[in-house]
């Protein structure tokens, strides 16, 4: 069977044909095109004539889009907003999802119930989740400020206050994602050999010490993985912003994907939007590359 490799190439191509069509149509060609279009001033209103040289001649403007973007305050501000989101979201998400994993690790009565409960937000679409949270965070009639008032805190105007809007989006995102990452961490916890805990127990280590000296180090590969994934995903922040604030108030929640969408589909500057989307790709690529490099240094894979 392992002989006659060439004879199998034809068979293999038949099996690969559908995914290959998809690969070209969905990934390869659009990816190359977005690079090409990022050097044009194409608006998107006039049809696209990819194969006509005059289309490229008329619209080609070199690096102008990139230069404009990098010089615009808006681009850097939108990255700053993503950074704000990360700084708030990632620690909150890590702590709550680790907590969920620790809770669900030991099988007890009710574990299955809580597992499902914690997972419901994950099953919810982003749009529904964002709509729900928009209403939860309503300054006057929302339930969160009502709860806060009951414990003696006067809640902020959340999404209507430029200072609090991003934090509101973070709350919704943590709510939506903690079950997802919680179950990933749970998988990691289940992989730790109980022998370590027994040994630590015999040596007189307390619970907290065991957690600090065994659980956390053994879980680092997973924490690291989740950290990078959530970092990269933070750059994709979009539905929450579209639904909850529409980038407002006063542009306080403008982020990069939202800018790509608006430039492409509201302002009809497809060339500019393509350049933005290529910068997004470069940023994400950089983080993925860093992950591959740093993984070897930081992480303990003996678990």
């Amino acid at each position: 069977m392992r002989k006659n490799r060439n004879n199998h190439t034809l068979t293999a191509s038949a099996f690969l044909a559908p995914s290959m069509v998809g690969f070209l149509l969905i990934a390869a060609i659009p990816f190359a095109l977005s690079f090409g279009i990022s050097f044009t001033s194409w608006s998107g209103i006039k049809g696209l004539a990819l194969f006509s040289p005059s289309f490229w001649q008329e619209n080609f403007i070199g690096f102008e889009n990139y230069a404009k973007i990098l010089k615009s305050k808006e681009f850097w501000v939108s990255l700053l907003h993503v950074a704000q989101y990360m700084v708030l979201y990632i620690p909150l998400m890590l702590v709550s999802s680790l907590g969920i994993a620790m809770l669900l690790n030991k099988p007890r009565k009710g574990t299955a119930f809580f597992r499902l409960l914690f997972y419901i937000p994950v099953l919810t679409s982003w749009v529904a989740g964002a709509i729900i949270w928009k209403w939860v965070l309503d300054p006057q009639y929302g339930i969160l400020n009502d709860i806060l008032l009951r414990v003696g805190i006067e809640g902020p105007a959340w999404l209507q206050d430029p200072k609090w809007a991003m934090f509101g989006i973070v709350l919704a995102s943590v709510w939506k994602d903690m079950g997802f990452y919680g179950l990933i961490f749970l998988g990691g916890l289940k992989n730790i050999n109980p022998i370590y805990y027994e040994a630590a127990h015999l040596d007189g280590a307390g619970r907290f010490q065991s957690f600090l000296k065994i659980t956390l180090p053994m879980l680092t590969p997973m924490v690291f993985f989740v950290l990078i994934i959530s970092l990269i995903n933070s750059f994709m922040l979009f539905p929450q912003v579209m639904i909850m604030t529409n980038a407002g108030p006063a542009g306080a929640t403008q982020v990069i994907v939202e800018r790509i969408y608006k430039y492409g589909f509201s302002y009809y500057k497809m060339g500019y939007a393509s350049a933005l989307s290529w910068l997004l790709f470069l940023i994400v690529f950089l983080f993925t590359y860093l992950q591959q490099k740093l993984q070897k240094k930081w992480v303990n894979y003996d678990a």
Binding site: I29, G44, I120, S125, W126, G264, F265
Partner: protein, 277 residues
Amino acid sequence: MMRNRNKSLSNLWFYVFASGIGFLIVIPLYWMIITALKTQTAIFTYPIEWFPKEITLQNFLDLFARFPFGKVLLNSTIVSVSYSAISIVTCCMAAFAFAKIPFRGSEALLKVYLATLMIPFQSTLIPLFMLFNSAGLSNTYGSVIIPSLFRVFGIFLLVQHMRTIPDDYIDAARIDGASYFTILWKVILPLSLPVIAGYAVITFMDAWNDYLWPLVMLTKPEMMTVPVALGMVNGQFERNFGVQMAGSLISIVPVVLIYLAAQSKMKDGLTLGGIKG
């Protein structure tokens, strides 16, 4: 004695903390449900009503009256089912070729496929829209179903699984004169059913909940999928939270039900995949 006390204490902490997190998770969901059932005036009553005094289905009726939400649910069902079905077929075929058919360049091609995971979908959004739009696919089911042809996640998942199936099965079938197609259909697929089932559930949910791509392709209300429609309802009925919560509630229910059904089935499914003898 001491041990028992420790155990019940740890159980107590579990219930305290689990209920605490559960409370935080449930509050928004509870808020959605009671708002969907409240009257317009009750929704904007201050201080807020934690327990609605009067329950009404008016918000649901309004949603269907003011927006073609029935058609929207149908659209989402058609799109999500076709999307998962096609994606399963193409992923199985590709994964089988990578895992079980020896051909030149197999490794390299798989690497190229996997490399596309590094390209955020958002980076290809604009040219993809242009291509589909100029092919006349705007406001068609096809526009949101076609991307199912290429799902690297599924291919990767199935390659990983199919590699664990011993080659002996295939060699035996080859000696009996079976074609690769027969081998895939009769040998590999039955052994991969649990993985395929799990993948089907995940893919259905992804398709059901997808937002950005349907948002740019589906602009007519009667062609929209549920998330796009909800987004539009959110824009149109800015302060009508009753209608918005009703729509959100309807959008969540099918996914939770499918997840529950899948979870109860998965347990038997996992043992089916084992190799006996």
